[in-house]
């Protein structure tokens, strides 16, 4: 070991493809499992959320329009980028959570594999969930799932990387754009994942990542009228009612999840039914 001072990373937010600091100027301290200072990530404010929603809304039509094949490749590209940087993620997970290397390796591997899994859903979910409806009349009638719009999410505290991937991937694979609040205690994986996003082909604004406090951001997510859906998997159950009450103002679709399955993708899709006459 030499005496070189290593260059530490400044953890910022990820909004519209850029890494701004929080407009509030606030940070909070993240410490390792052993209590050692690691970083001062941003303590995002409601205004950061507002900016992120603007970015997500602007990005949504373009992302929605991308072909399923294209979206699948972009999710797969995320997996490729994550694979290439797995060592960094393993280190961060160990540092922040104190888990064994084997456990950290496992989480990163699962995260990569999960991205690949969701990538493959992009061009299958419509076939699976769509329907041709045999109506009693001379009409062609079909139902297709469509993206819902802008979704906000509270990622689970742990596992910080896999939980984030399980939140992000099913939401964006269908064409939604997203504002996600990362694990409060372990936000490093999320912000490093933002670097993965920035170096992949995900268009700016499709995934926006905030760090900060759930209690502070979640109510603003719930009440924001330009957010269509809300994933509260990362929010403790005792806060669900308050969020649901607030979210009722624009009838947000609010869900929490216990597993990863196609239902998680469909939760933030809308079924559209189209009728057209059949005639000469």
């Amino acid at each position: 070991m030499n005496n070189r001072i290593d260059v530490k990373k400044t953890y910022k937010l990820f909004i519209n493809g850029a890494f701004p600091r929080t407009e509030s100027g606030r940070t909070y301290e993240v410490k390792s499992a052993k209590g050692v200072f690691i970083a001062n990530p941003c303590l995002a404010s409601r205004k950061d959320l507002k900016d992120a929603v603007v970015a997500a809304r602007a990005a949504q039509p373009g992302w929605n329009k991308a072909t399923a094949y294209n979206k699948g490749q972009i999710l797969y590209r995320l997996a490729e980028m994550l694979e290439g940087r797995r060592a960094q993620f393993v280190d961060e997970i160990i540092t922040v959570t104190g888990v064994t290397k084997a456990k950290a390796e496992q989480e990163v591997s699962e995260s990569i594999d999960r991205l690949v899994w969701y990538a493959g859903w992009s061009d299958k979910i419509s076939s699976l969930s769509g329907a041709l409806n045999p109506v009693a009349g001379p009409y062609y009638n079909f139902t297709i799932p469509e993206s819902m719009g802008v979704i906000a999410a509270i990622a689970p505290e742990t596992p910080s990387l896999l939980g984030l991937i399980d939140t992000v991937a099913p939401i964006i694979v269908s064409g939604n754009t997203l504002v996600v609040l990362a694990s409060t205690k372990a936000p490093l994986s999320a912000m490093s994942f933002a670097e993965v996003i920035a170096t992949s082909d995900v268009p700016a604004g499709v995934i926006n990542i905030l760090t900060g406090k759930k209690d502070e951001i979640a109510p603003w997510m719930a009440s924001h009228m330009d957010i269509d859906g809300l994933d509260i998997t990362g929010l403790t159950t005792k806060n669900h009612a308050e969020i649901r009450i607030s979210g009722a103002e624009n009838l947000k679709r609010i869900f929490s999840f216990k597993s990863h399955d196609p239902g998680r993708i469909l939760a933030f899709m809308e079924a559209k039914t189209v009728w057209h006459p059949i005639g000469l």
């Binding site: 001379p138 009409y139 006459p277 059949i278 005639g279 000469l280």
Partner: protein, 315 residues
């Protein structure tokens, strides 16, 4: 020539005119016709409809086996559909092949039916497959024999192959022959045109070319005067009126066999082209068996009990 200022007689202007027409959605047209078929016409309105329908009948015989005797009997019936009831109106016209026109005219006049027209089917009815000189001669024969109405067929082959100008010119030529002497009805044979888009196109083509009436069918092809086809034609005459201020008549023919069918036709007229068309000068029904059913229904309404075919004449 000036065809209502809509076309100038060239192929290009005709194509442009026809291309401007909006399409017809088959399912929507079927649904509208089916909805109008649910109209429930009862009591006094039914009685009005029966008499009106009788006065609109083009009492038709178009058989290879037609004879002078058969045509004379038809003419007698046309003038006095119910010999026992003079309040029954005469039909609109009798409709025959052109060799029977003189017979029909003479017999109608003989039995007091000067007000009943004679319609002659023309232009190589029913197929329309003859040369233009033959079609002209065919029509001229009928006119010379005293036909007051000419029911010409269009050349469906020409229409279906997109030679609209040929169809147009034939109508123009026959119309010129008819002049002021006879009303021109143009038969599309909608069962062969198949699509409602074609029916609409043919309607506008014929109206611009000078048709006084547009007529669905020869009666020799199935399907004939289906309700949606008549609906589409009624929409066409309505729209043509708003374009030109001229009312063109409509004649469904074929498949209208009973009172219920006839009343459905009148409902279509009433709610599509409008009540102005509810007159024999703008709406005719080409039929043969229909008349007796109208008469039986009329008896039932007047007498209060169901009629028997034994009480209506079979001619």
């Amino acid at each position: 020539m000036n065809f209502y200022g809509l076309v100038d007689g060239t192929d290009a202007s005709l194509k442009h005119y026809l291309r401007e027409l909006s399409g017809v959605d088959q399912v929507g047209a079927d649904a509208r016709a089916a909805m109008l078929a649910t109209r429930s016409i009862k009591t006094t309105s039914k009685r009005w409809a029966i008499d009106t329908a009788i006065s609109m009948v083009d009492l038709t015989t178009l058989e290879g086996a037609d004879t002078v005797g058969k045509v004379q009997a038809l003419c007698t019936k046309a003038v006095r559909p119910d010999p026992t009831d003079s309040s029954v109106p005469s039909v609109g016209a009798v409709c025959v092949y052109n060799d029977m026109v003189a017979t029909a005219r003479k017999h109608l006049d003989l039995v007091g039916g000067q007000h009943v027209g004679v319609a002659a089917v023309s232009t190589a009815f029913p197929s329309g497959r003859a040369s233009m000189p033959v079609k002209i001669r065919d029509t001229q024969d009928a006119l010379d024999a005293g036909a007051s109405e000419i029911d010409m067929v269009i050349d469906r082959g020409a229409f279906l192959s997109g030679n609209y100008i040929d169809v147009f010119n034939e109508i123009v030529a026959i119309k010129a022959l008819c002049g002021e002497r006879a009303h021109l009805k143009v038969i599309f044979e909608t069962g062969e045109l198949v699509t409602y888009d074609n029916v609409r196109k043919a309607s506008f083509l014929a109206m611009a070319a000078g048709a006084d009436f547009i007529k669905t069918s020869t009666g020799k092809v199935v399907p004939a005067a289906t309700a949606p086809v008549v609906l589409v034609m009624l929409e066409a005459v309505r729209d043509f009126y708003s374009m030109t201020q001229r009312r063109i008549g409509v004649k469904p023919a074929g498949g209208i066999r009973n009172t219920k069918d006839a009343i459905k036709q009148l409902v279509l007229v009433n709610e599509t082209a409008g009540p102005e068309w509810l007159t024999p000068s703008l709406f005719r029904i080409g039929a043969s068996a229909l008349l007796n059913d109208l008469l039986m229904q009329r008896m039932k309404m007047d007498d209060g009990y169901y009629a028997s075919p034994a009480y209506v004449t079979i001619d």
